[in-house]
Amino acid sequence: MIELFHSPSFNFIGRRRWAYAISVLFIAVGLVSIVTKGGLRYDIDFAGGTLIQIRFAEPPTIAKIRASLATIRLGDSIIQQFGDVREFIIRMPLTATSSEEVSRRIESALAGGGVGKFEIRRVEFVGPQVGRDLQLQAVYAVLTGLVCITLYIAFRFDLKGGVAATVAVFHDVLVSLGALSLTDREFSLTVLAGLLTIIGYSVNDTIVAYDRLRENRGKFIPKGQTFEQQMNTAINQTLSRTVLTALTVFFSTAILLFFGGKVLEDMAFTLFIGVITGTYSTIYIAGALVVDWTNYVEGRLRRGKKAVAKA
């Protein structure tokens, strides 16, 4: 039998202050990056605009592409190499001109620009109305996801667990958004799908730990064991499963990230970060918050009882 951990008994919950500090730090770094960069960079899915993906027969220079676009006054478009050295995307903000007009002009400008033969492989145009609709939908989707998960856990376990799990998930979403901003990636529809997947995945882990806690409490609990210790035991008991599953999902997303192609890259990156932070938050955030919350409530109850006794 190969074992990652043999009867582990790490003191996870005891070190929760450290974990809180680290989480706050990570989130703060991400938020600072988002704020200093003037918000998240939205993909045309949300911001609206036109994107054209072109493959050239010979690798051209960005300067040359820009020069030919300048002839039709689109020289300030965003031009990026995309995966292969011959593959580029050109991104233009919303204009009054229609998308077919823009792509027709670009085609003729490039044809006369001495960049060799090329093929237009993808055209995406999102109008202002659709972009706004999608932004709203994205926010609704994430919020609905969080609310549904809270309700599910509150129903299956208790409200404290539901809220703590949701905070943990929210933490994962914030860390992922921060990572996207730090690496200058764009927030697109597929990234949103990745975020929602993280929500499902991260909660999954948390539930496993809660389930074990409940099972243990239903059985014999050694006398004098605090709630903190019980939670720590449950996390340790489910630790090898948590880490093993994290590893397999980690492998899958890593492969998507490195071999899945440029179109999937940002989504894979979100999942990749999400798996790491999702596993971490299960161990350090979700359980720890329930412990602190329970201690706080019990503390107040005790003080309340003392006050009653005095009176």
Partner: protein
Amino acid sequence: MPKHLRVRLGLVLIVVAASVWYLYPPQKTINLGLDLQGGIHLMLGVEADKHVASQTDRAAEDLKGALERKGIGLKRIAREGNAAIQVELANPQSWNDALTVVSEFGAFERRDDDQAAGRFKLVMSERRISQLRDDAVRQGLETIRNRVDQFGVSEPTITRQGSERILIQLPGVQDPARAKALIGKTALLEFRLLDERTSVEQALAGQMPETSEILYRREVDKQTKAERKIPYVVQKRSLLTGAELTRAEVQADPNSMGNWQVAIEFTATGARIFGEVTEQNVGKHLAIILDGNVYSAPRINERIPGGRAVITGQFTVDEARDLAIVLRAGALPAPVVILEERTVGPSLGADSVRQGLIAIAASAAIVFVFMLFYYRLSGLIADIGLGLNLLMLVACMAAFSATLTLPGIAGIALTIGMAVDTNILIFERIREELRVGKTPRAAIDAGFRRAFTIIVDTHATVLVTAIILYQFGTGPVRGFAVSLFVGLAASLFSAYFFSRLLFDLVYGLRGKVAKVSI
């Protein structure tokens, strides 16, 4: 073999057989999304207001005619906004006669009466407006469907989205620009007389009667691609429109080599009107106008009786063919604008499929090896379950004709990682039971039983997110949600039910089991 094992084995075999049956042959049964096979995704907004406005114009025109027939003169009649008509009588004395005529226009309500000045306003009822808006979208949808059918696209999707949007998906179209031109064209064909009393110079200086306007003819130089716009002063009133058309065919242009023209034929009514118009206007010029662009303005030499005409204008054979299609399918009741467009060329789609398949194969391979290495024989059982899981996933997508998109492929790769989670939960549990000293069979039994509730919970949470993704997402993201959803269902069957069966077959049939390979 005990009976309950045979029943379960039979069930698995049926599932496998059904999966293979649904899946065969894979090229035909798997529905690839536009991002994988290439094609166009268009979201059109119907400018339904313009339909309301044109119907108001038509009513104003009818009202004017009806009043004139009764001998009631008008000082002014004009549309105000989209759905109102301002009327001012030449003589306020004819007020009562005018109201009798107006009362026949049921769709309008009279407001702001000023009898002394002979002024009133007609406003279209809200009900009529919403009916017209709805008509504009419904007829537009029908017309576009007609055009796409004649253009020849296999399996197009053309549906109404919300109240005034139309979603069009054309898989496998090679020339997106052409398809877009075909779909987006309003294709309003009009025959109007030139205003020969006003010169172009006067009109450009703004000196022209209210009943005329300037329209342009576009001329493209075939060598330099430079575009020239030639102005024409055209009367606003159209004598005949494309609505009276029965046929439109492509012909070679006899007067200009290499160019094509579209020959049209009118209905009986259209032919009669055309005959009358040409008879009354011999010597004048008749402009043929499509969507506000003049195509030609030939001089009428004599009465044209047969109801036939040709539209010329430097067309290539494809342009002429597409023009004939839109003329046959009819005009859109209101113009459309492209709100969203996603076009993927076939070569990019093929690249995505290749990379996606590599990613799935690689992540499956890693997970397979990892499970085998870590859990030995039990890992092999999990791997067989994973194989069944993938087979069921793809078969389900084929059976429900779900669409596989690029994010959908990512969903499958991710499902592989998550599907083994169920096995890991069970196996870790079995190991725990073994550690506390249970016999192999009892440990397997307890492991599966104890892990069951948590497996249901983990599936339920991912299910919730998959449903939300499906609800809010569009196109590719929906594909991702579908993969997740189907993957979950398949994982419950393969990782729980099927691997339990394999355990029973391996460890349950022998007399005494000393050790579990886990």
